[in-house]
């Protein structure tokens, strides 16, 4: 039987490495230190004082306002990563999250600007629209895969470009956009005050509020975990991810699963733009953040598609992003942070692998010792 019969490769993204005990914590921590070391070397080579640099970042990063910002970014990142992770859990690489959330945010923003309902209701409607649009756009990918067998990787890459074009087309005065007086910017009609998602003064010592949406993000995380690990649907999803053939034999309708999973992934993707839309900009304009889908992929992988792991990953990522602001002021290229982020992803995953092997080695030695003690008593094949 071919090695791939144990499922596609993505099923190894998670759970291939079973960790426990102190190593589970030590590994990533060490990995991050390692990444820091690499970054330090880069800094040194390029004539920047590493410790001073990190010092700056930490000092600035832990200012209340920066922390608030960190939480805000993390909220968005978390949702992005969840959207990607859902796909990963059944070997679907939804690289199209980027297009999905942009289109969703745009249309949701337009609807939000057009409507005047009681605040909470309107918020609900806007979110619903975003979820539906995101889901449908991702649904195309699912549909193409199940009906025509088009690889979701290709179709979602291509649909990202299509989403950009369609979005640009929609964001014109003829359609969804309104020109802002005196501005060269253009955006959807702002969402009325009543329908703004209230922020939370979570971090003491700053007026900068934290997106109220952080609550929803957290709930999504719990929902994700429960859905995957406590429900039959989740079981089927993970089963399909681990071995499609076995899932089929067990009565799972894989095509349906693919479709539903893409819809789900897209639906969550639809939420990505909401913190920004309902909590900060209240309208989708030319400067609406982009590329979050790709950040999401990195964070999902960093967090090994585990709800808690992703949360940690998102916070770390966003902390680095924000604490980097100070560097520009000090004339240190902020890109050093991007290097660090990439190195972290790589070294964390390598660390897990090494721990994995260390354990196997330890096991081997243990058996060896047991053997040396009692060669007389033959032991079963499985110890």
């Amino acid at each position: 039987m071919s090695p791939s019969s144990t499922g596609g490769f993505l099923d190894r993204v998670l759970g291939r490495v079973k960790l426990g005990g102190w190593l589970a914590l030590a590994a990533p921590v060490l990995a991050i230190l390692f990444a820091a070391a690499i970054t330090a070397i880069v800094l040194l080579i390029t004539g920047n004082e590493p410790f001073a640099t990190f010092g700056l970042m930490v000092e600035y990063g832990f200012r209340p306002r920066t922390l608030a910002l960190t939480l805000n970014f993390a909220t968005t990142y978390y949702l992005a990563a969840l959207a990607v992770a859902i796909g990963f859990r059944m070997n679907l690489f939804n690289i199209g999250v980027d297009g999905q959330y942009r289109l969703a945010a745009l249309i949701a923003a337009a609807v939000g600007g057009a409507l005047v309902l009681p605040g909470p209701l309107q918020i609900a409607v806007v979110i619903l629209v975003a979820v539906v649009v995101g889901g449908l756009w991702a649904g195309i990918v699912g549909l193409l895969k199940v009906t025509r067998g088009v690889s979701e990787v290709i179709s979602s890459i291509m649909l990202n470009a299509v989403a950009t074009g369609v979005g640009a087309w929609l964001l014109t005065p003829e359609l969804l956009a309104v020109p802002v007086a005196g501005s060269n910017n253009i955006g959807t009609k702002p969402i009325p005050e009543a329908a703004h998602f209230p922020g939370i003064a979570l971090v003491p010592g700053t007026q900068t509020k934290v997106f109220g949406f952080i609550v929803i993000a957290a709930l999504m995380g719990i929902a994700y975990h429960v859905l995957l690990n406590r429900t039959v649907f989740g079981f089927n999803l993970r089963a399909t991810g681990r071995s499609e053939s076995a899932a089929v034999a067990s009565g799972v309708n894989v095509k349906k699963m693919v479709l539903v999973t893409m819809l789900l992934s897209g639906a969550v993707a639809g939420l990505i733009g909401m913190p920004q839309l309902l909590g900060a900009s209240y309208s989708y304009s030319l400067d609406f953040p982009t590329g979050l889908g790709f950040t999401g992929i990195a964070i999902a992988l960093l967090g090994r598609n585990h709800p808690v792991g992703i949360a940690v990953g998102a916070l770390l990522w966003s902390f680095l992003d924000n604490s980097a602001n100070i560097l520009d002021l000090e004339g240190i290229p902020t890109e050093i942070v991007i290097i660090m982020q990439g190195t972290i992803v790589l070294s964390v995953i390598v660390a897990y692998e090494l721990v994995h092997r260390y354990r196997i080695g330890a096991e081997q030695r243990r058996v060896g010792r047991e053997l040396a003690q009692n060669t007389a008593k033959p032991e079963g094949a499985a110890v």
């Binding site: 090695p3 791939s4 880069v42 025509r148 649909l159 087309w169 990439g342 790589l346």
Partner: protein
């Protein structure tokens, strides 16, 4: 090159596969047919640019970086290593290519340095995936990020210092000379200008392929048959592919799987690096941040499109390059004409389904789509700029959706391998 596309359902249930070979005659026949179709459409719509020499040569240079990235993907995935990191290696290629060309003043040295840049990225990928056996996707994604960081960081340090350079761009780069088949340039132009049926289109095609082509482009094109030869006709190639199909089998015959995977991944980096160097040195003549614009992913798509085959990925890149050239050069009119092409092809497919395959329902659906497309073509007289922008992407998607999926990745693609783990 005559690549044998062994078409087969990847599902376990399929019957013994129908083998069909794409040979020279078939390829030429296909090209001829397509050209005729385009010629007809040109005459109907008057969109003269769809077969012009300019379009063809633009298509060529747009296809090269994608093709090179695709080749990169081909090499590593044929050895069983999925390479999402192509984009990153492409990025490294653009920067190091530019840097090499500037510091030495010699574009070809730049090309070499660019390849080296890609190689660095690939080395990371190889260490992570082959030595440490981590998940290929994670490693690839990480490399894309690191690569981006590195080049942006380096630009600020290196280029912003140079005159004409900046935080996000290099100074002007020395260029690689372009060559033409002498003598035929002008005559072909004349022929093309006449707008005769088929003749002018052929002239356009030839002119595009023979007139002022960058030497680098030629090198890049040669790399495709070369890859085919190495991977399908040499012992090394066979061993490399066996690592992607069934590493244990290779191991059991004394093939050093690690070595071959390493070589494959490094080669993949070199190709991607070359692609990057092409972007900065030939296509743009300057390094610009964000220059790759996701071409690494497109290259990956082209490779999958091409069913993990050099010929196929060449076709994929060509299709993308051509449609991209169309939309960039004449936007509205050309893409509008393309609608008619699509409508006609769909109609043909519908007939085929009805007559040959007796699949009435499918035929009806296809026919309806064809009519719909034609209707759009008939009522509009151009395509909004926002839509033309994604013509190449949409076309690729449509072709994939129409062509029945017979894609077959290497059996052990993306599966971490460890020596002596065979149970």
């Amino acid at each position: 090159m005559a690549t044998e596309l062994t078409a087969r359902k990847s599902a376990p249930d399929a019957a013994p596969p129908k083998k069909f070979k794409i040979t020279w005659p078939i390829v030429l026949l296909g090209v001829a047919g397509l050209l005729t179709l385009l010629s007809i459409v040109r005459l109907i719509t008057g969109a003269g640019d769809i077969t012009s020499g300019g379009t063809v040569s633009a298509a060529l240079s747009l296809a090269v970086p994608i093709g090179l990235a695709g080749l990169g993907g081909l090499w590593s995935e044929r050895a069983g290593v999925v390479n999402i990191g192509l984009e990153g290696m492409l990025i490294l290629g653009t920067w190091f290519g530019a840097w090499g060309a500037i510091v030495t003043g010699n574009p070809w040295v730049g090309v070499a340095v660019g390849a080296l840049g890609g190689l660095i990225g690939a080395l990371l990928h190889a260490i992570a995936t082959v030595t440490f056996g981590v998940d290929h996707i994670i490693s690839g994604v990480a490399i894309n990020i690191v690569a981006l960081g590195i080049v942006q960081y380096l630009s600020k340090l290196v280029f912003s210092g140079m005159r004409g350079g900046g935080e996000t761009q290099s100074p002007r780069l020395p260029s690689i000379e372009r060559i033409s088949v002498p003598g035929i340039g002008e005559p072909l132009r004349q022929l093309e200008a006449n707008g005769w049926f088929l003749v002018s289109d052929l002239a356009g095609l030839l002119r595009g392929l023979t007139q002022n082509v960058s030497l680098f482009t030629i090198v890049a094109i040669l790399l495709i048959p070369l890859s085919f030869f190495v991977l399908w006709r040499t012992a090394f190639g066979l061993r490399l592919r066996s690592c992607g199909e069934r590493p244990v089998a290779a191991e059991s015959l004394g093939v050093n799987v690690y070595t071959h995977k390493y070589i494959a991944v490094l080669a993949s980096g070199v190709f991607a690096g070359l692609g990057g160097a092409f972007l900065s040195i030939v296509a743009a003549g300057i390094y610009r941040e964000g220059q790759t614009g996701g071409r690494g992913f497109i290259g990956l798509a082209a490779m999958i499109f091409g069913n993990w085959r050099p010929g196929g990925l060449a076709a994929g890149s060509a299709l993308f390059g051509y449609t991209d050239a169309l939309q960039l050069r004449q936007g509205g009119p050309s893409v509008h004409a393309l609608l008619l092409v699509v409508a006609l092809i769909l109609a043909a497919v519908a007939v085929y389904q009805l007559v040959r395959q007796r699949r009435t329902r499918a035929a009806v659906i296809t026919a309806l789509v064809a009519i719909a497309v034609f209707a759009v073509f008939a009522v509009t007289d151009t395509v909004p700029e926002q839509f033309t922008s994604f013509t190449p992407h949409l076309t690729t998607l449509l072709v994939l959706a129409l062509a029945s999926q017979r894609l077959r990745p290497p059996a052990a693609d993306g599966v971490p391998y460890r020596k002596g783990q065979a149970k």
